[in-house]
Protein backbone atom coordinates (compact mmCIF):
# COMPACT_ATOMS: atom_id res chain seq x y z
CA UNK A 1 0.00 0.00 0.00
CA UNK A 2 1.38 3.36 -1.00
CA UNK A 3 0.86 6.01 1.65
CA UNK A 4 2.56 8.79 -0.20
CA UNK A 5 4.20 9.10 -3.59
CA UNK A 6 5.83 12.13 -5.12
CA UNK A 7 7.79 12.39 -8.32
CA UNK A 8 9.75 15.09 -10.08
CA UNK A 9 11.30 15.64 -13.47
CA UNK A 10 14.35 17.77 -12.93
CA UNK A 11 17.01 19.52 -14.97
CA UNK A 12 20.53 18.11 -14.98
CA UNK A 13 21.91 20.57 -12.46
CA UNK A 14 23.41 20.58 -8.99
CA UNK A 15 20.29 22.41 -7.77
CA UNK A 16 18.33 19.29 -8.76
CA UNK A 17 20.77 17.14 -6.79
CA UNK A 18 20.19 19.32 -3.75
CA UNK A 19 16.41 19.19 -4.23
CA UNK A 20 16.45 15.38 -4.44
CA UNK A 21 18.61 15.16 -1.31
CA UNK A 22 16.45 17.59 0.67
CA UNK A 23 13.22 15.86 -0.37
CA UNK A 24 14.63 12.49 0.67
CA UNK A 25 15.61 13.82 4.09
CA UNK A 26 12.22 15.47 4.57
CA UNK A 27 10.23 12.36 3.62
CA UNK A 28 12.49 10.03 5.60
CA UNK A 29 12.10 12.20 8.69
CA UNK A 30 8.31 11.71 8.53
CA UNK A 31 8.79 7.92 8.62
CA UNK A 32 10.04 5.80 11.53
CA UNK A 33 13.72 6.20 10.69
CA UNK A 34 16.22 7.49 13.23
CA UNK A 35 18.35 10.57 12.51
CA UNK A 36 21.27 8.44 11.38
CA UNK A 37 19.16 6.57 8.83
CA UNK A 38 17.59 9.81 7.59
CA UNK A 39 21.08 11.18 6.99
CA UNK A 40 22.16 8.01 5.20
CA UNK A 41 19.06 7.88 3.00
CA UNK A 42 19.57 11.54 2.03
CA UNK A 43 23.22 10.90 1.27
CA UNK A 44 22.44 7.82 -0.83
CA UNK A 45 19.92 9.85 -2.81
CA UNK A 46 22.46 12.64 -3.27
CA UNK A 47 25.03 10.16 -4.59
CA UNK A 48 22.50 8.59 -6.97
CA UNK A 49 21.37 12.01 -8.18
CA UNK A 50 24.98 13.10 -8.74
CA UNK A 51 25.51 9.95 -10.82
CA UNK A 52 22.40 10.73 -12.88
CA UNK A 53 23.19 14.40 -13.46
CA UNK A 54 26.96 14.23 -13.78
CA UNK A 55 27.88 10.77 -15.09
CA UNK A 56 24.57 9.95 -16.80
CA UNK A 57 23.28 13.17 -18.31
CA UNK A 58 26.64 14.97 -18.20
CA UNK A 59 24.84 18.23 -17.27
CA UNK A 60 23.14 18.16 -20.68
CA UNK A 61 20.31 20.74 -20.49
CA UNK A 62 18.23 18.63 -22.90
CA UNK A 63 18.35 15.60 -20.62
CA UNK A 64 16.29 15.21 -17.47
CA UNK A 65 16.55 13.36 -14.19
CA UNK A 66 13.40 11.68 -12.94
CA UNK A 67 13.08 11.13 -9.20
CA UNK A 68 10.26 9.45 -7.32
CA UNK A 69 9.76 8.79 -3.64
CA UNK A 70 7.25 6.28 -2.36
CA UNK A 71 6.31 5.59 1.24
CA UNK A 72 4.96 2.04 1.11
CA UNK A 73 4.27 1.92 4.81
CA UNK A 74 7.16 -0.36 5.65
CA UNK A 75 9.77 1.13 3.35
CA UNK A 76 10.89 4.22 1.53
CA UNK A 77 11.42 3.42 -2.14
CA UNK A 78 13.33 5.95 -4.22
CA UNK A 79 13.78 5.65 -7.97
CA UNK A 80 16.16 7.89 -9.87
CA UNK A 81 16.65 7.67 -13.60
CA UNK A 82 18.64 9.56 -16.20
CA UNK A 83 18.79 9.75 -19.97
CA UNK A 84 22.50 9.16 -20.28
CA UNK A 85 24.63 6.55 -21.92
CA UNK A 86 23.89 3.85 -19.37
CA UNK A 87 25.81 2.16 -16.62
CA UNK A 88 27.15 -1.38 -16.51
CA UNK A 89 27.21 -2.63 -12.93
CA UNK A 90 30.09 -4.95 -13.70
CA UNK A 91 32.20 -1.97 -14.79
CA UNK A 92 31.99 -0.30 -11.39
CA UNK A 93 35.38 -0.70 -9.72
CA UNK A 94 35.70 -1.72 -6.07
CA UNK A 95 36.79 1.45 -4.24
CA UNK A 96 38.16 -0.64 -1.37
CA UNK A 97 40.65 -2.45 -3.58
CA UNK A 98 44.22 -1.48 -2.78
CA UNK A 99 44.79 -0.04 -6.26
CA UNK A 100 41.65 2.15 -6.00
CA UNK A 101 41.95 3.35 -2.43
CA UNK A 102 43.64 6.64 -3.33
CA UNK A 103 41.56 7.36 -6.40
CA UNK A 104 39.63 10.61 -6.29
CA UNK A 105 36.33 9.20 -7.50
CA UNK A 106 34.37 5.94 -7.60
CA UNK A 107 32.88 5.78 -4.09
CA UNK A 108 29.32 6.95 -4.78
CA UNK A 109 27.66 3.63 -5.59
CA UNK A 110 29.61 1.91 -2.85
CA UNK A 111 28.19 4.41 -0.33
CA UNK A 112 24.67 3.96 -1.74
CA UNK A 113 24.96 0.20 -1.23
CA UNK A 114 26.36 0.71 2.25
CA UNK A 115 23.51 2.97 3.33
CA UNK A 116 20.45 1.35 1.75
CA UNK A 117 18.88 -2.07 2.27
CA UNK A 118 18.31 -2.83 -1.41
CA UNK A 119 19.81 -1.27 -4.52
CA UNK A 120 18.76 -2.25 -8.04
CA UNK A 121 19.92 -1.03 -11.41
CA UNK A 122 17.96 -1.16 -14.63
CA UNK A 123 19.25 -0.27 -18.05
CA UNK A 124 16.74 1.97 -19.82
CA UNK A 125 18.55 2.16 -23.15
CA UNK A 126 19.26 4.98 -23.10
CA UNK A 127 19.76 5.81 -19.49
CA UNK A 128 19.93 4.12 -16.14
CA UNK A 129 17.36 3.67 -13.41
CA UNK A 130 18.47 3.03 -9.86
CA UNK A 131 16.03 1.98 -7.16
CA UNK A 132 16.96 2.50 -3.54
CA UNK A 133 14.95 0.83 -0.78
CA UNK A 134 15.17 1.41 2.93
CA UNK A 135 12.92 -0.63 5.18
CA UNK A 136 11.62 0.79 8.40
CA UNK A 137 12.14 -1.15 11.57
CA UNK A 138 15.82 -1.90 11.40
CA UNK A 139 18.74 0.45 11.59
CA UNK A 140 21.97 0.40 9.60
CA UNK A 141 23.80 1.73 12.64
CA UNK A 142 27.42 0.84 12.08
CA UNK A 143 27.06 0.08 8.39
CA UNK A 144 29.65 -2.61 8.09
CA UNK A 145 32.98 -1.92 6.57
CA UNK A 146 33.32 -3.46 3.18
CA UNK A 147 29.62 -4.11 2.70
CA UNK A 148 28.80 -4.00 -1.00
Amino acid sequence: MTLERVSYTLDSTLDSVNKAEQTAEKLASKMPFDDEDCHRIAMAVREAAVNAVLHGNAYDPKKKMMVSFENTGDALVITISDQGRGLREEDIPDPLAEENLLKQSGRGIFLIRSFMDEVRFRNLEPGTEITLIKHTGHSTEGASEGRQ
Binding site: M43, V50, L54, K103, R107, F110
Partner: protein, 115 residues
Protein backbone atom coordinates in the same frame (compact mmCIF):
# COMPACT_ATOMS: atom_id res chain seq x y z
CA UNK B 1 25.58 26.02 4.13
CA UNK B 2 28.52 26.04 1.74
CA UNK B 3 32.04 25.45 2.93
CA UNK B 4 33.94 28.18 4.70
CA UNK B 5 37.63 28.16 5.40
CA UNK B 6 40.05 30.12 7.53
CA UNK B 7 43.79 29.52 7.53
CA UNK B 8 46.24 30.21 10.33
CA UNK B 9 49.87 29.32 10.95
CA UNK B 10 51.08 27.65 14.13
CA UNK B 11 54.70 26.51 14.54
CA UNK B 12 55.24 26.18 10.80
CA UNK B 13 52.00 24.27 10.24
CA UNK B 14 49.13 25.75 8.23
CA UNK B 15 45.84 24.94 9.90
CA UNK B 16 42.76 25.20 7.71
CA UNK B 17 39.63 25.50 9.83
CA UNK B 18 36.87 24.22 7.57
CA UNK B 19 33.15 24.48 8.22
CA UNK B 20 29.93 23.65 6.39
CA UNK B 21 29.55 21.18 3.55
CA UNK B 22 32.29 19.67 1.40
CA UNK B 23 30.28 18.41 -1.56
CA UNK B 24 30.32 18.39 -5.33
CA UNK B 25 30.16 21.93 -6.65
CA UNK B 26 30.25 23.50 -3.23
CA UNK B 27 33.20 22.92 -0.96
CA UNK B 28 35.19 20.52 -3.06
CA UNK B 29 36.47 23.01 -5.64
CA UNK B 30 37.18 25.58 -2.94
CA UNK B 31 39.21 23.05 -0.97
CA UNK B 32 41.19 22.05 -4.06
CA UNK B 33 41.99 25.68 -4.91
CA UNK B 34 43.09 26.48 -1.40
CA UNK B 35 45.38 23.47 -1.16
CA UNK B 36 46.98 24.46 -4.46
CA UNK B 37 47.39 28.02 -3.22
CA UNK B 38 49.11 26.85 -0.05
CA UNK B 39 51.44 24.56 -1.97
CA UNK B 40 52.20 27.41 -4.37
CA UNK B 41 53.36 29.48 -1.40
CA UNK B 42 55.56 26.62 -0.20
CA UNK B 43 53.31 25.78 2.73
CA UNK B 44 53.54 22.00 2.76
CA UNK B 45 52.56 21.12 6.34
CA UNK B 46 48.81 21.28 6.29
CA UNK B 47 46.35 20.36 9.03
CA UNK B 48 42.70 20.23 7.97
CA UNK B 49 40.47 20.94 10.94
CA UNK B 50 37.15 19.30 10.04
CA UNK B 51 35.50 19.90 13.41
CA UNK B 52 32.78 22.13 11.97
CA UNK B 53 32.26 20.23 8.72
CA UNK B 54 28.62 19.21 8.89
CA UNK B 55 28.43 17.11 5.75
CA UNK B 56 30.72 15.50 3.24
CA UNK B 57 29.77 13.43 0.19
CA UNK B 58 31.80 11.11 -2.03
CA UNK B 59 33.10 14.10 -4.01
CA UNK B 60 34.27 15.68 -0.78
CA UNK B 61 35.95 12.45 0.27
CA UNK B 62 37.62 12.36 -3.13
CA UNK B 63 38.83 15.90 -2.64
CA UNK B 64 40.38 14.98 0.72
CA UNK B 65 42.15 12.03 -0.93
CA UNK B 66 43.32 14.26 -3.76
CA UNK B 67 44.60 16.87 -1.30
CA UNK B 68 46.44 14.15 0.63
CA UNK B 69 48.17 12.72 -2.45
CA UNK B 70 48.92 16.14 -3.98
CA UNK B 71 50.58 17.38 -0.80
CA UNK B 72 52.47 14.12 -0.31
CA UNK B 73 53.69 14.11 -3.92
CA UNK B 74 55.19 17.55 -3.33
CA UNK B 75 57.07 16.34 -0.29
CA UNK B 76 54.61 17.70 2.23
CA UNK B 77 52.31 16.30 4.88
CA UNK B 78 48.56 16.62 5.28
CA UNK B 79 46.76 15.50 8.42
CA UNK B 80 43.14 15.61 9.54
CA UNK B 81 41.92 17.03 12.85
CA UNK B 82 38.65 16.79 14.80
CA UNK B 83 36.53 14.48 12.68
CA UNK B 84 32.82 14.53 13.40
CA UNK B 85 31.16 11.15 13.86
CA UNK B 86 29.65 11.31 10.36
CA UNK B 87 32.99 12.01 8.69
CA UNK B 88 34.74 9.45 10.89
CA UNK B 89 32.17 6.81 9.87
CA UNK B 90 32.57 7.65 6.19
CA UNK B 91 36.34 7.29 6.37
CA UNK B 92 35.92 3.97 8.18
CA UNK B 93 33.46 2.60 5.62
CA UNK B 94 35.68 3.65 2.72
CA UNK B 95 38.81 2.24 4.43
CA UNK B 96 40.44 5.66 4.32
CA UNK B 97 40.68 6.09 8.06
CA UNK B 98 44.01 4.27 8.10
CA UNK B 99 45.28 6.15 5.03
CA UNK B 100 44.96 9.56 6.64
CA UNK B 101 46.83 10.58 9.77
CA UNK B 102 43.84 11.55 11.93
CA UNK B 103 44.26 13.56 15.13
CA UNK B 104 41.80 14.79 17.71
CA UNK B 105 44.01 17.29 19.51
CA UNK B 106 45.50 20.30 17.75
CA UNK B 107 48.67 20.56 19.84
CA UNK B 108 49.63 16.93 19.36
CA UNK B 109 48.69 17.13 15.69
CA UNK B 110 51.13 20.01 15.22
CA UNK B 111 53.85 18.14 17.07
CA UNK B 112 53.28 15.12 14.81
CA UNK B 113 54.49 16.99 11.72
CA UNK B 114 58.07 16.30 10.68
CA UNK B 115 60.35 19.05 11.97
Amino acid sequence: MTMKSNSRRVDGVTIMDLSGRITLGEGSVMLRDQIRELLGKGEKKILLNLGDVTYIDSSGIGELVSAFTTVRNQGGELKLLNLTKKVHDLLQITKLYTVFDVKDDEASAIRAFTK
